[in-house]
């Protein structure tokens, strides 16, 4: 890969005796949608945490646009241009939908929007993209799960990220909502935002990702295009297990 927009090298995270992420090298190409998959406990969310600054790596570096962002605070990294959504939605429950998104617009967005009006305009733009414009004034807590997931995305988009990390945005959604969210992901990519998504729904990953990285027990075992990766025996046995007496 010639010029990765985001690159992690030798990323390692230990919690006490447990190694959650173990020396992972990962490079994300500008403009791609990259799927990050692996069975439960593979370390995918931890890897996201290390990249987005929510956790500090025990070892390894993260570079973004050629500059190191290793160990910087989450808000710094967000302002630099890497946004993240949460696996379990975390709306600001007492705020309206548009106010939620305005937080992203106010703080993650460079240059700073002009005042409240500017932030609101920016927020409305993202709500439009995410199909939530008609719910802008509703309290955030009144949304359905699908709505909450899209709110997470709108909020992250309002920070005008170059890279968007989506952590299981499809989990818990019904098929209609899933399709709607996948369309949204494609739209965002078309706007020029690079996307990395942690996902369990492999059918969806297959449909939307141009490349897949597979993590098993904290290590990267394979990466490549979806069809190759998903038929790789190592991946299959990671998912289906190996027969004991095969």
């Amino acid at each position: 890969m010639a010029d990765p927009i985001l690159e992690g090298r030798g990323l390692t995270k230990r919690f006490g005796g447990l190694i959650a992420v173990d020396g992972v090298d990962i490079a994300i190409e500008r403009g791609e949608i990259c799927g990050l998959i692996g069975p439960n406990g593979a370390g995918k969310s931890t890897l996201f945490g290390l990249i987005s600054g929510v956790m500090r790596p025990t070892a390894g570096t993260v570079t973004f646009n050629g500059r190191s962002i290793t160990g910087r605070s989450a808000h710094d990294i967000c302002v630099a241009g890497v946004a993240v959504t949460h696996q379990i939605v975390r709306p600001f429950r007492d705020m309206s939908v548009v106010d939620n998104v305005m937080v992203g617009a106010f703080f993650g967005h460079r240059p700073r929007p002009r005042g409240r009006g500017g932030a609101r305009a920016a927020a409305m733009e993202e709500l439009e993209v995410c199909g939530l414009a008609d719910r802008a004034e509703s309290p955030a807590r009144s949304l359905t799960l699908g709505g909450h997931k899209r709110l997470e995305i709108a909020r992250a988009l309002a920070t005008r990220p170059e890279v968007l990390l989506l952590d299981e945005v499809l989990a818990g959604l019904n098929p209609t909502e899933t399709d709607r969210t996948l369309d949204l992901v494609r739209t965002v990519r078309e706007r020029g935002t690079t996307i990395v998504m942690v996902e369990h729904n492999l059918r969806a990953v297959r449909g939307v990702c141009s490349r897949i990285v597979v993590l098993v027990e904290g290590r990267k075992i394979v990466e490549g295009d979806p069809d190759t990766v998903l038929t790789d025996e190592r991946v299959v046995s990671a998912y289906l297990g190996t027969a004991a007496h095969a």
């Binding site: 929510v54 808000h75 007492d94 705020m95 937080v103 409240r116």
Partner: protein, 313 residues
């Protein structure tokens, strides 16, 4: 928004007019003065405890520093034009000294630490006799005229509430609201949460510093147990919670109720005040955490037909 502004303007005009309409109502002015002072103090606490959701039980420290700074400077003949802003800044500086370590703690841990900080500050003031006059405190010789005190407190209140109203609608207010509701989510949206909390604490401390100046000039006597006392910190917590945590007018309503119960009822009925506050606090926390404003909101919604009912949970 505009209507809010208009109402505020009418209210301010009315309050400015009171001394001229009723020049002999010294006692009413005195009560209003206290309401203004408490209102400003509660509003200041609310910036941190309500807006940013960091409940502090040690806010009396800032009032005390402001009061002492003003008392000491006034005794040394320094003009109020200098001593009041310096008092505010000293209180603000102290807030940075304690805020930076304390904000490493979250939620209840922060609250417990503030109890310790507040009490430690009081004990230091008691023992640092050369500066604070120790437990005997300091006496000032002459008070500014009541009218001046009245307007100073009114100005402070208007400034504090104005600041709160402005913050609430501003970028900074969004940061604080985000911090209150989900600090981690705020962080990942680019909010420098520790900085925001520290800024809120600084502003809060500065307002309390000025309130301390007004206090010192009104009471003409400052002692560690009066200005740094735990009961002052408790009052600062109670008023905004009664009125409505994290709102602009809530602390003000709380201050009115507090002043009436404390200064009026309690002078003749023994010990009912803190008991009443305790019961109010329990009731509010359990049944309506949004305080009086929340109750008012409920009543209003009960009276009006439910326009938009929001599906919840």
């Amino acid at each position: 928004m505009a209507r809010n502004g208009a109402f505020a303007a009418i209210a301010i005009a009315a309050l400015v007019a009171v001394p001229f309409v009723a020049p002999h109502a010294e006692y009413a002015l005195d009560v209003l003065f206290l309401i203004f002072l408490y209102g400003a103090m509660a509003t200041a606490w609310n910036l941190v405890g309500g807006f940013a959701g960091q409940v502090s039980f040690g806010h009396a420290a800032f009032l005390g520093i402001g009061a002492y700074a003003t008392a000491i400077m006034t005794q040394n003949g320094i003009s109020l034009w200098i001593s009041v802003p310096v008092s505010a800044l000293l209180a603000g500086a102290y807030s940075l000294v304690i805020g930076i370590p304390a904000f490493r703690l979250r939620g209840p841990y922060f609250s417990i630490a503030t109890i310790g900080i507040g009490e430690a500050t009081r004990l230091i003031a008691r023992n640092w006799s050369s500066l604070t006059g120790g437990v005997s405190g300091l006496t000032l010789s002459s008070a500014p005229p009541l009218l001046l005190q009245y307007f100073a407190a009114l100005a402070l209140l208007v400034a504090a509430v104005g600041l709160a109203a402005w913050i609430r609608a501003s970028r900074f207010g969004y940061a604080l609201a985000a911090v209150r509701q989900d600090t981690d989510a705020a962080e990942t949206l680019g909010v420098a949460t520790t900085v925001a909390k520290t800024q809120a604490l600084f502003l809060s401390a500065c307002i309390l510093g000025v309130a301390g100046s007004v206090y010192a000039l009104h009471y003409l006597f400052v002692s560690p147990d009066s200005v740094f006392g735990f009961s002052t910190s408790i009052a600062l917590v109670i008023m905004p919670i009664i009125g409505g945590l994290g709102t602009v007018t809530g602390p003000l309503i709380g201050a009115v109720i507090y002043t009436f119960i404390r200064e009026q009822l309690a002078a003749t009925l023994a010990n009912v005040d803190l008991l009443a506050f305790g019961v109010l606090l329990i009731a509010i926390v359990v049944f309506e955490p949004r305080g009086i404003l929340g109750i008012a909101d409920r009543i209003r919604r009960m009276r009006k037909p439910p326009a938009v009912t929001v599906p919840d949970g």
